[in-house]
Structure formats: structure tokens, C-alpha cells
């Protein structure tokens, strides 16, 4: 099939490691390099690149925004314009051992109860809930899920920092209680990334796991997994005690944006439109298991064989996905939060004090970087 025979595409390799790739992009764009014309962005980079003027707004090309999951478009929108289209989605999931907990828990409190009773059984797993608690970006994705479950936010819709409001404090206290009071989470998770959590769950040592969709394939393989056929995934539930709480999944994934310095913006957009078209998304799901960002595809029988979990569960998880704060200063904001959350979780600070400190530092960051002036100017333009 040749839709655009006059457009020749060249691939350019970039580092796999996200922060190295980011650094490389920033160097290129500071030097106004127009190649590559299309940049693959992590979900939290789009506002930064948009505010810096490094990627083009896509509105003039008329993208069909309504055909994508709302959260994936929101994450790529800065000052009312969309700057990138979601290529594939990644989403935080709750893995559960179906042989130990047959019924999907409806609240976070039920998760803890189920974990405790499964652990106390004879021969039950050592750990209740395993997750990513080291001081890195993964800690923020987990926090965002608990935060939403208790109805909290990091930054609200008006741009105010609300990460030290009571809902957020309760969310952090709940996370801390899992380590020290209900003891369903081992202290080890405070040094863990995705893979350590996967090993624990895959070896049958945990009742629940918070992770991305990628381990499903390996864990379904009886040759390397002790839990093949014995686990299910669902969205993280909300807290049963917080009226404003809602089931929340952290949103990850890759976006495609147009380099502002390219000579070929129109050809670049044609390629982005092609790569984000339904057929292409299906093909990539079948080839490498990446989750489409178009809800309509989750009704398509062809997707069923491509991704390992029930389509309905996947769709529900992505529908409950929440972008991390959509702001150009995300990376530094995240670093502040990582440190303060980790301090609270290792008990160097009380949850309330840690979140107050985080809020104060984030406000200072907003001040230092002239964020309010920039947003006012961007919304006027």
C-alpha cells in the first residue's frame, strides 16, 4: 500500500533511556536542528517542548481529537492547542492473583484486606502489594493513582498547587500505612523499579502488583512464570472512604510531534496521521503489543488476539487514566515530589510536612520560571 509515494521516510535512532533521549532532543532543539522532522515524545514532555517553541501546534492540520482517549489528548495540550498526537498508550494496572483473590476488589481498602487475608493463609505469598517505590519517576505514577483514588490532585485546573490538601495527605498516609501499619507492602519496594516488582509477582511472592501492561506477556509464559493463568488485571480502584475519589491510572506512552525547525511540516503531519491511523495502531498492537490510543479499536475483534488482557479491562483502565501535571516545568516538579514523597515513605518526614515542603518548593519553582506570566501570554495568543 502506498498512500504518499512522494514522501520518503528516514529513521533516526535515539537512546532508549528516556532521560538520555530528552537530553539529546534539548541539545538538538537549542541548536535549531530541523532533523528529525518528527519527534517521539514521552507523555510528560509535550508541554515543555510546546512552551519552548520546539514543536508545532497541530490544530491547523485538523487532527480528529475526539477519536482519541480524552486523557491522551489532554496530556498533549498546552494553552488550548494540541502539540502532539498519542501514538500508543501505557497505563498503570493492578495485577491480582486470581487463585488467591477471585473477585476484583472494588476499593483500595478491599485490596489491603484481600492482601492481608491471602498473606495469612498457609503457604500464602510473602508480600501483599508490590509496586515501584524507589526515588524516580515511577514513584510519581504510583502516587498519582493513590491521589486520584482519594480525590486529590497535584495542580488543580486553575494552576494552583494543591498537593498538600487533606485528600493528598490522606493518600500519602495510606501509602505509608501499607508499609508500616497494615504491612501489606514490603519495605523493599522503596528501592524497587518495575522489574523488581515483576520478579516478585512472577515468582508467586505477591498477591497484588502495580505495574504497566508490559509484564503480561512474560508472566503468561509457563516456562518462566509461576503465575501463568493465575492472574488478572484491572484498573486501580478508588478509596471507599473518599467521596471525591475515583479510580485512577497513571498515563504513560509515546506521542508524535513535529519539530518546529523542520523544512517539511506538511509531510511530517501526513506521516503522523498515518502512524496514528486505526489500521497502523492495530498492526503495531499485533506486532509489539502496544496499546492503541483510540477507544473505538477496543471494540475490534482483531485487537483481542493482539493484547493479552480482556479488551474491556484495558479500555476501562485507559479511560480512568489521568495525565501527570500538564506543565512545561514537569521534570523539575517531579523531582521535587520524588524527593519529598520518598522522605515521607522512608519516615524521614511526616506526610503532611513532606507535602507542605513539596508545595512550597513547587510554588517557588513556578515563581522562578515565570510560569504564570508565560501561561497568561500563551492563553492570550
Amino acid at each position: 500500500m502506498q498512500l504518499n509515494p512522494d514522501i520518503r521516510v528516514e529513521l533516526q535512532r535515539t537512546p532508549d533511556d528516556a532521560s538520555q533521549r530528552h537530553q539529546l532532543y534539548v541539545q538538538w532543539l537549542n541548536a535549531r536542528v530541523g532533523n528529525p522532522s518528527i519527534l517521539q515524545l514521552d507523555v510528560v514532555w509535550t508541554p515543555e517542548f510546546a512552551a519552548a517553541g520546539w514543536v508545532l501546534p497541530l490544530d491547523r492540520f485538523g487532527p480528529a481529537k475526539a477519536e482519541f482517549f480524552a486523557a491522551t489528548i489532554a496530556a498533549n495540550t498546552w494553552a488550548g492547542k494540541v502539540y502532539a498526537l498519542p501514538w500508543f498508550a501505557d497505563v498503570g494496572l493492578l495485577y491480582r492473583r486470581t487463585d488467591l483473590v477471585p473477585r476484583e476488589p472494588r476499593t483500595l481498602e478491599e485490596v489491603v484486606d484481600d492482601a492481608q487475608s491471602a498473606m495469612s493463609r498457609r503457604g500464602g505469598p510473602r508480600y501483599g502489594i508490590v509496586s515501584q517505590g524507589a526515588r524516580y519517576e515511577g514513584l510519581i505514577t504510583g502516587f498519582v493513582e493513590y491521589l486520584g483514588a482519594f480525590g486529590g490532585q497535584i495542580i488543580d485546573d486553575r494552576g494552583e498547587v494543591v498537593v498538600n490538601r487533606p485528600e493528598a495527605v490522606r493518600a500519602l498516609e495510606f501509602m505509608r500505612d501499607e508499609l508500616y501499619r497494615t504491612r501489606v507492602a514490603p519495605l523493599d519496594v522503596l528501592t524497587w523499579h518495575e522489574e523488581e516488582a515483576r520478579f516478585a509477582f512472577q515468582n508467586g511472592n505477591a498477591v497484588f502488583m502495580r505495574n504497566w501492561p508490559y509484564p503480561v506477556a512474560a508472566m503468561s509464559d509457563t516456562a518462566q512464570s509461576k503465575v501463568a493463568g493465575k492472574f488478572a488485571v484491572s484498573p486501580m480502584p478508588a478509596s471507599g472512604t473518599a467521596p471525591a475519589g475515583h479510580s485512577t491510572a497513571a498515563l504513560g506512552g509515546a506521542q508524535l510531534a513535529i519539530n518546529a525547525y523542520t523544512e517539511f511540516p506538511d509531510a511530517a503531519y501526513k506521516l503522523i496521521a498515518y502512524l496514528t491511523a486505526p489500521e497502523q495502531m492495530l498492526e503495531r498492537a499485533q506486532a509489539v503489543g502496544q496499546y492503541p490510543t483510540r477507544p473505538a479499536l477496543y471494540d475490534d475483534a482483531r485487537l483481542k488476539s493482539a493484547i493479552a488482557i480482556p479488551l474491556d479491562n484495558a479500555r476501562r483502565a485507559i479511560e480512568s487514566a489521568t495525565p501527570r501535571p500538564v506543565t512545561p516545568i514537569y521534570t523539575e516538579l517531579s523531582e521535587i515530589l520524588q524527593i519529598e514523597l520518598h522522605r515521607a515513605l522512608v519516615r524521614q518526614a511526616a506526610p503532611r510536612a513532606a507535602l507542605d515542603a513539596a508545595a512550597a518548593k513547587i510554588n517557588a519553582l513556578i515563581e522562578r520560571t515565570g510560569m504564570r506570566k508565560l501561561m497568561a501570554a500563551a492563553s492570550k495568543a
Binding site: 537530553q23 534539548v26 537549542n30 517553541g53 524507589a134 522503596l190 512545561p328 524527593i339 520518598h342 515565570g370
Partner: protein
């Protein structure tokens, strides 16, 4: 008259002969330093082009003074440097004294001792991380079996215990280097001094205090200067072992600077941090050379 003009032409010749070397030094040492300093006087955030690159005088330095994370990092660096160097000097001296004796296989022992020093720091750090990391790790298994711990512990989530693998790894890796430097110093001591002392009835302890240590002082000071400057720049070991955590409670200044400069791409502020580290290490070197009279040329005074 003639004499001065000849001296003048000799001086000119001398200058022209060292000019290439001087220009290389200017290019690779002075120019980058000057550039870094110039950069440190600006607000320059590579990620935030909307801020421009205004000249802001000493504002970055003012921010450093008010930055608790910087002062914390400085404290961690000093702590790491003092504790690890003290241990290395003590154990290194012991090893050097042992290796200085004449025994069979001395050459082999001297070479074998150097093995940890030959391992790249990042590899050594990964190794120690592996030993301490999980609850089923070697450190936990040994300590539980020896009855020192009731149950396995998570080393990296408390400040005090997170330092243990860091300091151990540094001592393990660097003590051989210290021992060899001290051994070189020991071999410069005239053996007849010991013979004379023995004839006068001095015991081994007296010999150590009144012959070995005083005569070893130049070697000890050279070791100190090397190790202090190394300690102040510690980066890779902690980057791999603790990442500066838990929280930021083991973060040294070099890691903080790396973070500001290369992770957050705050060129102005990061440059100011670099200048401050430079000033501190330069001050330390000056103190050793001027204050304690270390002679780096190696000749005795």
C-alpha cells in the same frame, strides 16, 4: 648593559619556549574555567528558552547560599570524605607495614592487593549494591547467620545504614592505593635508623612513633591531598549505590551539581555550583600545600 640585554633575550627565548605549553594550559584549563564562571553569572535554563539568557550578577550564588539541598550535600560530602579517608589511612598504614616486611611471595601480595583498585568504580559500586540490595542478598544472609541481625534489613532506606555500603565500597576499593603510596614512603626510610634504635633498646611501638611516622609524614600528606580531593568529587560510587537517597540524605555536591546541570539543564545555576566546588577543592589543595607544607615534587626539605 650587555649583561641585562643578554638576560632579556634569554628570558624572551625562555618565554617563547614555554609558550606552547602555556597556551595549551590556557586552552584546556583556564578558558573552560573562565567560561563556566561567565555562565554562572547568567540565568540560563536550556529547557526554558522563554526566560532568555539575562545577566543576573551573583544571583545564582545567592541562591546557593540559601539552598538547603546544597548545604546538605556539602555536609554529606564532608562526612563521606572524613570517614572514608580515616579508615583508608588506618588500614592502608597497617597493610603497608605488613607488605614492607621481607617475606616469601611479597611481590605477589603487593600485586594482589591492588586488584580492587583496578576495578572500575562503577563496576565496584554495582558489585556492592548487589551484595547489599535485596533481603536475600549476601550481606543480609551473612549477618543473619552470624546472629548479628535478627532478620534481613533493607539497607538503602535509612540514612545511617545507606552509608554503610557506600563507605565500605570506597574503603575496599581505595585502601590498596593508599597502602601503596605509604609503602613507597616506607621504603625511603633508612633501615640503619631502626638498627640504631634497636641497639639503644627501643621497642617496636617506640620505633613506629618516633621513626616511622615522622619520616612517613610527607607520604601521608601526599596521600591525604589526593584522597581529600577525590573524596570531595565523589560521584559515580554514590550515583550507583544510593542515587543520593533515601530522600537526598546521602547526596554529595558533585551529584547535586550533575543533577542541576545535566538533568535539569540549569546551566547558570549548575555552573555556579561547579565554581563553588572548584573554589572549595582549590582552597583545600592550597591549605595542604601551603599550610601543611606538602611537597608534590617529592623532594625532602
Amino acid at each position: 648593559m650587555r649583561k641585562t640585554s643578554r638576560l632579556g633575550s634569554e628570558a624572551r627565548l625562555g618565554w617563547s619556549l614555554v609558550a606552547p605549553a602555556l597556551s595549551v594550559i590556557a586552552l584546556i584549563a583556564i578558558f573552560p574555567l573562565g567560561w563556566t564562571f561567565w555562565e554562572s553569572l547568567h540565568l540560563h535554563e536550556l529547557r526554558m528558552p522563554w526566560l532568555g539568557k539575562p545577566f543576573i550578577g551573583l544571583a545564582n550564588y545567592a541562591e546557593i547560599v540559601k539552598d538547603p539541598r546544597f548545604w546538605g550535600a556539602l555536609g554529606h560530602t564532608a562526612f563521606f570524605t572524613v570517614v572514608s579517608i580515616s579508615l583508608e589511612l588506618l588500614i592502608g598504614l597497617f597493610l603497608a607495614l605488613a607488605m614492607n616486611r621481607v617475606f616469601r611471595g611479597r611481590g605477589f601480595v603487593r600485586a594482589a592487593v591492588l586488584v580492587p583498585w583496578a576495578i572500575p568504580t562503577v563496576v565496584a559500586a554495582l558489585l556492592w549494591r548487589f551484595i547489599f540490595e535485596s533481603q536475600g542478598g549476601i550481606a543480609n544472609a551473612l549477618l543473619v547467620r552470624a546472629g548479628i541481625l535478627d532478620q534481613p534489613m533493607v539497607w538503602f532506606i535509612e540514612t545511617a545504614t545507606a552509608w554503610v555500603p557506600v563507605i565500605l565500597a570506597d574503603v575496599w576499593k581505595t585502601t590498596p592505593f593508599v597502602a601503596l603510596l605509604l609503602l613507597a614512603g616506607l621504603q625511603n626510610i633508612d633501615l640503619t635508623l631502626y638498627e640504631a634504635a634497636a641497639v639503644d633498646g627501643a621497642n617496636a611501638w617506640w620505633q613506629l612513633r618516633h621513626i616511622t611516622l615522622p619520616l612517613l609524614k610527607p607520604a601521608i600528606l601526599v596521600t591525604l591531598i589526593f584522597r581529600t580531593l577525590d573524596g570531595f568529587r565523589v560521584f559515580d560510587l554514590i550515583y550507583v549505590l544510593t542515587g543520593g537517597g533515601p530522600g537526598t540524605s546521602t547526596e554529595p555536591v558533585a551529584l547535586y551539581t550533575f543533577n542541576a546541570l545535566l538533568q535539569n539543564l540549569r546551566f547558570g545555576y549548575g555552573s555556579a555550583l561547579s565554581v563553588v566546588i572548584f573554589a572549595i577543592t582549590f582552597g583545600l589543595a592550597l591549605f595542604y600545600v601551603r599550610g601543611l607544607g606538602v611537597r608534590l615534587g617529592g623532594e625532602e626539605s
